[in-house]
């Protein structure tokens, strides 16, 4: 009952005219920023933060604006993922796996509308989760120590190895390359410079934006070059622009399951939308078994990561609000925004600033409705983007990528680094290394090392801490299962071949 009162109070804050306007504006800008390849929620939030401050918005209005941008990006990221095979942000990597094939089959309209509804359901379930569990989950997340986090990240990478079934070694190699890229820069614990080759620009590491834009946008430009040469063209959208009731029923439980899973993963500090979409995609693929067409345009493969990444975006607000620990890169920027307003996120925030917290939560509900209403009718407009010819589209992607990277540090070095990583990514893609594993590795890299070292600092160097708690033992067992999967498949395939020969 107390929660309900607070929520009503929150709605009262969120429905003030200026806050509604801000949510509408944020949702619109967020969708556009998410739609532009290379510009993700971090860019959107980082770009609008100075604006919010310059306009002198009160803290709750500023937070509502940033949260609306964040949600809008999760809606918009899927559009470029489906239409261009370029994820707007790392979380949309999984959306490309089935979304792009669907677009190639001429079902872009269906994919877009269905993913909008998946996003909506994901966000709604997760926002209800925030309302119900925010006070309780603060206690639960504390049970995860650094050792458990380290094992959880190993499990996430092992999942990828087990998922991209036919080439586990290449997948794990790609993840390792990502992890290694994340070690570039000054070591946060000791201040030692690692792999910087004396360059000042590398001393604070390779920026996430540069890696994402380089590996996805630039290498995509190079890959598209080959396709124009061989005369292949993107399939035009035709037929229905809206999914039908049967397709909705087919994917409904996938959405609900993925939303719940995405929410839980989003709540864990440090484990954000990327892991959520990867893990739900993988588990849906497993559950569908051989009946699914995952990777070739399965609607469930589209609904699962979309519901999960929106759910985890909402879920990641819980650790941010209750613990002061960011659940994702974007919430890290939002914590920066709160400290600008002299508000320290933490367990006391719910008591001291109920207007801010509950206004934000209520605005999530409102923002979601705005986004769904905005996205469904505009689906036709988005789907029409495929008819833009390559000689306009590709230069535009390139120019926007340049701007996105230049906005981070304003140096030529970053631009050249982006092109270099893009060429490297192109080579890796030609050799069939999955780049989504690389990005996951890069995202996890620093967290993984930090948690490993923190765990070993706690135990004074004793490795036993990594498998001492029931949670970590359980995660190790699951990791072993995942790593054993390809070997088991290979062994069974060989045995059936032998039987057939005999």
């Amino acid at each position: 009952m107390e929660t309900l009162n607070f929520l009503m109070q929150g709605f009262e804050v969120a429905t003030r005219p200026e806050n509604l306007m801000v949510a509408l504006f944020g949702a619109f800008v967020g969708t556009i920023v998410g739609l532009l390849p290379g510009l993700g929620p971090i860019n959107g939030v980082a770009l609008l933060l100075p604006l919010a401050f310059a306009l002198g918005l009160p803290p709750e209005t500023a937070l509502i604006l940033l949260a609306a941008v964040y949600l809008g990006c999760e809606y918009g990221g899927r559009i470029s993922a489906i239409l261009l095979n370029v994820p707007g942000d790392a979380a949309a990597v999984m959306t490309t796996l089935d979304g792009y094939p669907l677009a190639r089959q001429g079902k872009a309209g269906i994919a877009l509308s269905l993913s909008a509804v998946s996003s909506f359901i994901g966000s709604m379930i997760a926002t209800c989760g925030v309302v119900l569990f925010a006070p309780l989950l603060a206690k639960w997340a504390v049970a995860f120590g650094p050792a458990e986090y380290f094992v959880l990240m190993i499990f996430a990478i092992a999942c990828l190895g087990g998922m991209v079934g036919d080439k586990p070694v290449k997948t794990l190699m790609a993840a390792l390359i990502g992890l290694a890229l994340a070690t570039v820069g000054v070591d946060s614990t000791t201040g030692v410079y690692r792999f910087t080759f004396g360059s000042v620009s590398l001393s604070d590491g390779i920026q996430f934006i540069i890696v994402v834009i380089g590996f996805f946008s630039v290498s995509e430009v190079l890959l598209m070059l080959e396709k124009t040469h061989s005369g292949q063209k993107a399939v035009k959208t035709s037929g229905r622009l809206l999914f039908n009731f049967k397709e909705f029923c087919f994917t409904f439980w996938t959405m609900v399951r993925s939303a719940v899973a995405g929410f839980v993963i989003g709540v864990l500090p440090g484990a954000g939308a990327t892991i959520a979409s990867a893990m739900t995609y993988m588990s849906e693929k497993r559950m569908a078994g051989s009946s699914g067409k995952f990777g070739e345009g399965d609607l469930r493969g589209l609904a699962a990561p979309e519901a999960a990444n929106n759910a985890s975006a909402c879920g990641s607000l819980i650790p941010m609000l209750t613990l002061g620990v960011p659940g994702s890169g974007t919430t890290a920027v939002m914590i920066g925004a709160l400290t600008l307003y002299n508000i320290t996120p933490g367990p006391l925030l719910f008591e001291q600033q109920p207007d801010v917290v509950w206004g934000l939560i209520a605005s999530l509900f409102i923002g979601n409705v705005i986004l769904l209403v905005m996205n469904i009718p505009l689906v036709g407009l988005f789907a029409r983007m495929l008819s833009v010819p390559n000689w306009i589209l590709v230069p535009a992607i390139t120019a926007i990528s340049m701007v996105g990277v230049y906005a981070v540090h304003s140096t030529t070095f970053d631009l050249v680094l982006m092109i270099g990583l893009g060429v490297f990514g192109y080579i890796l893609r030609k050799l069939e290394f999955p780049l989504s594993a690389l990005i996951l590795g890069f995202v996890l890299g620093e967290l993984m090392e930090d948690n490993l070292r923190r765990a070993l600092s706690i135990s004074a160097g004793d490795l036993n801490i990594l498998w001492s708690s029931p949670i970590s033992l359980c995660l190790w067992a699951l990791t072993a299962l995942m790593l054993g999967m390809p070997a088991l498949r290979w062994w069974r395939a060989r045995r059936t071949a032998q039987v057939a020969n005999a």
Binding site: V169, T189, L222
Partner: protein, 147 residues
């Protein structure tokens, strides 16, 4: 063949980085692990993976034909030139030139590519610099603005 080539190169690269990583030492031990162990662990695992790929590179191989390889190299050079000239020429001019060249590479016709290049340079500058407040370099235009 290409996978083997890549694996061999990567193995050498890992070895080189490992030599570099061996020198990472903190002047004072802040934690029991130190800055060296984790990169070395990753390099060891990557080297193991490269060895595996050297022995078993997989079955499928894509063929490269020389004309598409040439176009790829041209595209890479265009991108590199665009990146290098981005600051000195300024966003508007470098983008107009870069998008014009890329448009031609993607089988666009001469005049439409030129028009779209100039339009993109000007419009994107307006969008980002004025509307979204992303500072972009003016380059050659800087003299005009100053005076």
């Amino acid at each position: 063949m290409y996978v083997r080539l890549f694996a061999a190169t990567w193995l050498l690269f890992c070895a080189g980085l490992a030599v570099l990583a061996w020198g990472f030492q903190a002047p004072f031990a802040y934690d029991p692990v130190g800055p060296r162990a984790y990169p070395l662990l990753l390099l060891t695992l990557m080297a193991a993976g490269s060895l595996w790929l050297l022995v078993k590179p997989g079955l499928r191989e894509q063929k490269l034909d020389s004309s598409s390889a040439l176009r790829s190299v041209l595209c890479m050079l265009t991108l590199l030139a665009y990146a290098l000239l981005f600051e000195s020429l300024g966003f508007i001019i470098s983008t107009a030139l870069g998008t014009f060249a890329l448009g031609l590479l993607f089988t666009g016709r001469l005049l439409p590519c030129a028009i779209s290049g100039v339009l993109m340079g000007v419009l994107l500058y307006g969008l980002f610099d004025y509307l979204l407040d992303v500072p972009l370099p003016l380059g050659l235009f800087e003299a005009f603005v100053e005076s």
